[in-house]
Subunit: 462 residues, 2 copies
């Protein structure tokens, strides 16, 4: 990989300029207003794959946003790596909390990133990390050091739950045939503490609607005599957890994977400073399920969060209205063995059961996703671990993450393939938040590490 | 009053056309964007007072929106009636629920208003009812049948709690000297069931802000370990009432006026059909404080309603965010003897006391208002009762209302004057809601009744 690594070292600025161009496209998949921007994102990714040396590059239409495919088959006898990622991004709002425009990338130094970080929506999640793969591939291909076959599947609907990906991979089973799936959409503990995500939480996401009167009423004339949908919704949300912060939905915990004391002790070894954690997000105190540590609460335990709530008058000043409707978006993070569809119906059943007879309730399920685990004795994991050890000079720690990449479970189910989550982001990168950023160190470290993964994986599969 | 009533009968269409012109002005006092519209409203009211024959007409500047003053002193020895009303209106939103534009008045027939009703924001609350007084005055003045002196004080900040009215009436004490205050900003039970409001609920209105982390977080990475401001706010709102729908704020009920069984039995005689009530707003069931009827819950008992709530992602699709902040607007309707400032501080104290240490809380008090009661043996009440009996052919029922006109208590305190609430709206007029309307029957019945009030009041004060 000597020529490849030299090529990477000599093209750093160009790689960055090209990434900036991609980051300037507001490919927000959740907002229909950005549909054409999402397409532009797909076209630019396809262009780069072709220029990097991929064959069969295609922008595959779906019911929603397209999936970009590309491949390089150098020898059918060699193992094949399927690289997955996404070029769509989360909405930028609240926009006014960004220090610089979300879609005008700039480099700024931070305490954690003294060499500078790229500030832009998607810098880390996932355009920046996808681009590492495109550029690492370019370096290997142009220097004829590609040790395996490679396939790319870069989608545009990950941030809205990949509604069309399942259909695509079922239809394209042969075309997607591979030995391992490689994804960079996760993070490491720190730039001094490499780690590999071995577990992911699943997701159940619902939108609830509480309806009281058929129109907004004057709270003076009707208040006290007619159920207020906001008060009712608040009371119902409050009933979803008990005083120990355990979720009260009957059956919710039935299938939750119980870790052994030993496993929990292993986890507890990961470097973690509670005061640093609290001050990094400026909270007076942590809070969560009784009997578990902060790391456990955000990785091995399921959760329930209200992601959005609205109802009544939310404008300036004071309006004395008793509103007709109140809404909330509620998501539950799931751990291994919990099934999203089952949890969604348990939620729906329970939520309807606690609704008073003075209102009517609707529960709309959004997307869900299965939890997943990567065995640390698999070739894929070992290849990633060795590659990172080469570039970080330290063996990475296997770690459970609280986030969800629902399609990882899907890949296993449909393609029968394990996924390796070799991500390079940091928890402090503010993904899904204002001022999302990605360290230059991490961006280049990723490009540098990926070729070694290919190398290691080829060796292990000889 | 013969010539006056003939004049009224002969000018109905012109009165209506003039009112429409006033209704076309979006004088929304709560929204700074409408500041110039509110001023236009004041100017048009002033113009009509002058044309009707008022002297000393003036648009009195305040720190906020102006107050329109005008008077007609025909003889210092005669009693003086001070007419109060407001030309500002509630915001029109939710705009998409209006069948016709909120500020483009039209006449439509309804089941309750077979002769037609005026549909527009402010048609009933309070432009329509203020205009009845201007036109009744015009009729009496032009026909030289004005039996008392009259003063007008029409403000532009009633819908935001009259923040500057107190200062104004304190400064203008002499100028506002009168024997009675007459206000039409309330309603009657039905067009067949005239009634006069003798009690009004007070108001305490606060905005609360719950802050968790210093930025929106990824609910997958932090969910379960960091307190979610929306969940917390919901739990805190739920704690404001117990399972009997009694408000849990310590001391909240201490000063509540307790009615005798006899008074409650009198109230119970007012015509009321629960099924009609439920179907009129299309609710499966009523809900409220245990041990009280629907009429009592909405008139003689204090209440707590969330008027607005917002936080997190409320756009299209699904965003997995753990938000930094959540907000709610909360109002409490108060009954005689409850003091708004005291209740606001009781609320603040309690709300802060139930906040977990994982978040920080802010409570911003909005405007408040004292409850008020009009004695049914006062000259003002008797004059109104006799006047309505003349025009409706039925003695009106004295009734407690759930709404608030905070300034009624203020008038008593500063000017030492009782207020008569001779309003002509109906509960079904949808004030503060989409499709607010005001019956033509009610509009003209008001114009017709007001001169008789002046006549009766003059007699009683001879």
């Amino acid at each position: 990989m000597k020529k490849t690594q030299e090529f990477i070292a000599n093209n750093q600025q160009r790689f960055l300029d090209e990434l900036f161009e991609l980051l300037r496209i507001p490919s927000v998949s959740a907002d229909p207003a950005n549909k054409s921007d999402v397409l532009k994102g797909a076209q630019l990714v396809a262009k780069h794959l072709e220029e990097a040396g991929a064959d069969e590059v295609e922008i595959c239409e779906t019911e929603g946003h397209p999936i970009v495919y590309g491949e390089k088959i150098i020898d059918p006898k060699l193992p094949t790596v399927l690289v997955y990622g996404h070029y769509d991004v989360q909405p930028a709002d609240p926009i006014d909390l960004w220090d610089s425009p979300a879609f005008e990338p700039i480099i700024k130094k931070t305490e954690i990133h003294p060499d500078g970080a790229i500030f832009a929506r998607g810098a880390c999640d996932d355009k920046g990390q996808v681009f590492m793969h495109v550029k690492a591939f370019e370096a290997m291909a142009k220097n004829e050091e590609l040790p395996c076959n490679v396939k790319f599947m870069i989608e545009g609907e990950e941030e809205v739950g990949s509604p069309n990906l399942a259909i695509f991979i079922k239809e394209q089973k042969e075309r997607l045939a591979a030995d391992i799936i490689l994804v960079s959409d996760t993070g490491i503990i720190g730039n001094e503490h490499p780690s590999i995500t071995t577990g992911l939480r699943g997701l159940s996401y619902v939108e609830v609607e509480v309806t009281g009167p058929n129109r907004d009423l004057h709270s003076g004339l009707y208040g006290g005599a007619v159920a207020n949908p906001i008060n009712i919704l608040s009371e119902m949300i409050a009933q979803l957890k008990d005083d120990q912060n355990k979720i009260t939905i009957p059956g919710f915990y039935d299938k939750v994977e119980i870790l052994t004391e030993e496993e929990r002790n292993e986890m507890a070894k990961a470097p973690f400073d509670l005061d640093e954690y609290k001050s990094s997000i400026d909270i007076p105190n942590v809070a969560g399920e009784e009997g578990y540590s902060t790391l456990e609460r955000s990785s091995i335990r399921p959760t329930l969060d209200v992601n959005g709530i609205w109802g009544g008058y939310i404008g300036e000043g004071a309006k004395t209205v008793l509103p007709s409707k109140a809404y909330a978006k509620i998501s539950m993070r799931l751990v291994p063995h919990q099934d999203p569809d089952e949890i969604t119906s348990l939620f729906t059943e329970y939520f309807e059961s606690i609704a008073p007879d003075s209102v009517s309730i609707k529960v709309h399920p959004h997307h869900g996703g299965l939890p997943a685990v990567t065995p640390i004795d698999s070739n894929g994991y070992i290849a990633a671990s060795n590659a990172m050890e080469k570039t970080f000079g330290k063996k990475p720690i296997p770690l459970r993450s609280g986030g969800s990449i629902p399609i990882v479970a899907l890949f296993e189910e449909v393609l029968g393939l394990k996924t390796v989550l070799m991500g390079f982001g940091l928890a402090s990168d503010a993904i899904h938040s204002p001022n999302e950023h990605y360290g230059l160190f991490n961006f280049y470290k990723g490009i540098e590490t990926i070729p070694y993964f290919f190398d290691e994986f080829a060796q292990l599969n000889k």
